[in-house]
């Protein structure tokens, strides 16, 4: 949400999102950049966000605002900074800035994380090395609007034009064991479309999705949460596994199908996620 909206800053934490992105970049006009920075800084100091992850999207590193954004915001310890159109060199430079700031402020080294946004053709093609460039990176956000703009193509609801981008980002993130955040769905009132779009992202391996409206949170969480049936099945797999282990069996089957390592892993992930979401 825009960083220069005090009402939103105040209420951001209670709307149900797992992370909130307080924006100093595109949602804030040029004349409001300083207000946004000050308000976000003060919000981080004074507002209790509880368990919600607080991410601040700073201005692009090559803009006049970026360095003061990073300097002021990092010192009030957000969970992460989100870097638009990030390149490897920029991320390394930001990492150096943060090392100094963390040391000066007495924060644990590496405690401020980074989330680069992949929203250019360069960023997309180089996503793996971008993630590799810095240990602070915990996730990547795919920025569909800017990416299609960079490519000179039309952005559609159905999203066929970003299929390659989604595939690539999801895979690269998985390879580097970081989270992948899908681009937001921009029609605030089309919940059916939102669900379809979110399911597409999930089916390609994304671990989360950005929302530009709090109304989207419920649908996104519903799609990403394991269903009752999935949780039940996962528990059965794990129970069968324990039984097999106690009988000294290495391999076992459930419902006539052989259960091997990938299935067990998926079951463990499902149960873990369900616990995290308070579903069990």
């Amino acid at each position: 949400m825009p960083g220069n909206n005090p009402g939103m800053l105040q209420n951001a934490g209670i709307l149900g999102a797992d992370s909130i992105i307080l924006d100093l970049e595109d949602a804030v006009s040029l004349t409001e950049k300083d207000s946004a920075r000050i308000l976000v800084r003060e919000a981080l100091k004074n507002v209790e966000y509880g368990n919600v992850e607080v991410v601040v999207r700073v201005n692009p590193f090559n803009s006049e605002f970026a360095k003061v954004d990073i300097d002021e915001i990092a010192r009030v310890k957000p969970n992460a900074l989100m870097i638009p159109k990030a390149t490897e060199e920029e991320l390394i430079a930001i990492d150096k800035m943060l090392i100094n700031i963390e040391s000066e402020e007495g924060f644990d080294a590496g405690s401020i994380k980074l989330i680069p946004i992949v929203e250019t053709a360069y960023g997309l093609e180089n996503v793996y090395s971008i993630i590799k460039s810095c240990d602070r990176i915990v996730a990547v956000l795919l920025g569909g609007e800017d990416l299609t703009s960079d490519l000179g193509i039309v952005r559609t609801k159905e999203g066929g034009e970003i299929l390659y981008a989604r595939n690539k980002v999801a895979v690269a993130c998985r390879a580097m064991k970081v989270d992948s955040i899908d681009t937001p769905f921009t029609d605030t009132n089309d919940f059916e479309g939102l669900e379809i779009d979110t399911r597409k992202a999930k089916s390609l391996g994304f671990t989360g999705k950005a929302a530009i409206s709090p109304k989207h949170i419920d649908t996104i969480q519903y799609v990403f949460a394991p269903s009752e049936a999935e949780i039940k099945h996962a528990r059965r797999v794990l129970e069968a596994m324990e039984e097999a282990e106690s009988e000294g069996k290495g391999v076992f089957s459930l419902d006539g199908k052989m259960v091997d390592a990938p299935i067990i892993n998926r079951a463990k992930n499902t149960v873990e996620l369900a616990r995290l979401l308070g579903l069990i």
Binding site: Q10, N11, I14, L15, V47, E48, K215
Partner: protein, 512 residues
């Protein structure tokens, strides 16, 4: 003296009389006597239709010191109250007590009439706009008496509030005074607030802009109560009449509160077949109705009744078969009016049937769940809906205290802070509804349950809902807003807040 809620109230108030202090929600239940009604019998030769308001005032012998009454079914579009009071002023009459069930911004002409001594006392259930602000500044020499909707009916039926002349704005009337609110250009639907006036006032006048052939059908207020009928050009502005409902809130915080409220209702086990429900017409209250509708449809629940002022949203639920019937004391919008016209299962209830504690059982007694608002809530769960953050009158109980007293589950839905002020305070500026009637407060940051309701606390513990002590909720608010300064008040009493049983629950003192 202090009443049991710790509110300082004189034993006698000039312009009001001896004070019966509030002692508890049903402490005054018992044997009640209804007033005698004196009337002029009407013979076959008598004609009721008069030529204009002037002739009406002649015939009813409107004189200094009388009490006149009006209903508020035409809301901010009403013309009748201002018209009649202007005519009374023109005749040089003074010291009138105005017993209007509610007063709105369009009643601003009353300010001049008060300054000129035409109106010297007001009795009402709700007031907003300039008249409320002027009253709070002490423009009247005697305090306004603020009733609840049920309490006003009680006062009229018992004789505590004696009405000399009731002027009933009638969207439809025949020449013998059979009235309904269903038809005519100024249709407003159910006339719940006019019934007690019609039945108990010394003289009753139907003021209509739709005089129809005898007999009109249906009859909401019978000819046997009406003395005179007068036709005027217009009794109200339809746009102002049907604008009672706001839209469902779009604010994500309001929607979150609504979702949490729905979870609370479900967790208590009261959302089931034959349930009854009432909600207000404000944005968050309607969002709660929307959440309840979703749940009821998903689980195939059919309720017994929904009640209150009826909005299009409740009508939608009714039409989808989620409630067997509606009890309607006033229609807030066109959709409600149309529903009331179209089916007998959308039933009118008078204000007395709605909430009078001194009859053989009001509808609120059978209500399972009610959703209400608040301007302030204190550590004892006392709720203020009478005065605002500046100490001035901006509302009044309406049906708040009545429904809260009767309902099995009373939920206050509110943002924790409005503008820069916490809604939860150490001590409310004024008590409208006593804490013993309030069960749960739902805000976006947490839910507080009245410690008396250990049953609800147990049920909600089993959920993931953020239950916290009301003191904690206040601290959360104050952490963000700082501790607000107390409103400074003078000793001058500008309003007496009468509880539904006729006792005094609080007084409004003029802000400094």
């Amino acid at each position: 003296m202090m009443n049991i809620l710790g509110r300082e109230i004189p034993e006698y108030i000039e312009g009001y009389g001896k004070v019966i202090p509030f002692e508890g929600t049903f402490k005054r239940a018992g044997i009640k006597v209804k007033k005698e009604v004196k009337l002029n019998s009407v013979t076959p030769n008598d004609k009721k239709v008069l030529c204009g308001i002037e002739e009406v005032l002649e015939k009813v012998e409107l004189a200094d010191g009388m009490t006149i009454s009006f209903h508020h079914h035409l809301r901010n579009g009403d013309y009748v109250l201002n018209l009649v009071v202007a005519a009374i002023a023109n005749r040089g009459i003074k010291n009138i007590t105005l017993a209007a069930s509610s007063l709105f911004p369009n009643n601003v002409p009353l300010i001049e009439h008060i300054k000129n001594g035409v109106i010297t006392k007001i009795v009402t259930n709700y007031m907003s706009g300039p008249i409320a602000q002027e009253v709070s500044r002490g423009i009247l020499k005697t305090p306004v008496i603020m009733h609840t909707h049920g309490g006003r009916a009680r006062a009229i039926e018992s004789g505590d509030l004696h009405i000399d002349v009731a002027f009933i704005a009638a969207p439809t009337s025949d020449n013998y005074g059979n009235i309904n609110g269903l038809y005519g250009r100024s249709a407003c639907g159910a006339l719940g607030y006019a019934v007690a006036d019609a039945q108990c006032a010394d003289k009753v006048v139907a003021v209509t802009d739709n005089l129809v052939a005898y007999p009109t059908c249906p009859i909401e207020i019978s000819q046997i109560y009406v003395d005179y009928v007068v036709q005027v050009d217009s009794i109200g502005d339809p746009a102002g009449i049907v604008s009672g409902t706001t839209k469902i809130t779009n604010d994500p915080v309001g929607l979150k509160i609504a979702k949490m409220t729905s979870d609370v209702m479900v967790a208590t086990g009261l959302v089931k077949n034959e349930m009854s429900f009432q909600t207000g017409a404000g944005g968050i209250s309607l969002a709660v109705a929307a959440e309840l509708k979703k749940y009821m449809k998903q689980h195939g629940i059919v309720g017994s009744f929904a009640s209150g002022g009826i909005t299009g949203y409740i009508v939608d639920m009714f039409k989808e078969g989620l409630f067997r019937t509606l009890f309607d004391v006033q229609c807030f919008d066109l959709q409600a009016i149309q529903s009331y016209v179209s089916t007998h299962k959308h039933q009118r209830m008078s204000a007395s049937m709605y909430g009078n504690p001194d009859n053989k059982g009001a509808v609120v007694n059978n209500l399972d769940i009610v959703i209400l608002g608040a301007t302030e809530i204190d550590m004892n769960f006392n709720v203020n809906v009478t005065t605002g953050s500046d100490g001035a009158i901006m509302g009044g109980s309406g049906g708040h205290s009545d429904t809260a007293a009767g309902a099995k589950l009373t939920i206050i839905v509110t943002q924790l802070m409005k503008a820069r002020l916490p809604i939860i305070v150490d001590r409310v500026t004024n008590v409208t509804t006593p804490g013993e009637s309030i069960d749960v407060i739902v805000t976006e940051r947490g839910i507080a349950v009245n410690p008396r309701r250990t049953d609800i606390i147990e049920k909600l513990k089993k959920t993931n809902l953020p239950i916290m002590a009301i003191e904690e909720l206040k601290e959360v608010a104050e952490k963000m807003t700082g501790k607000p300064k107390a409103i400074e008040l003078t000793d001058e009493i500008v309003a007496v807040i009468e509880y539904r049983d006729g006792s005094v629950i609080d007084v409004v003192r003029k802000p400094l």
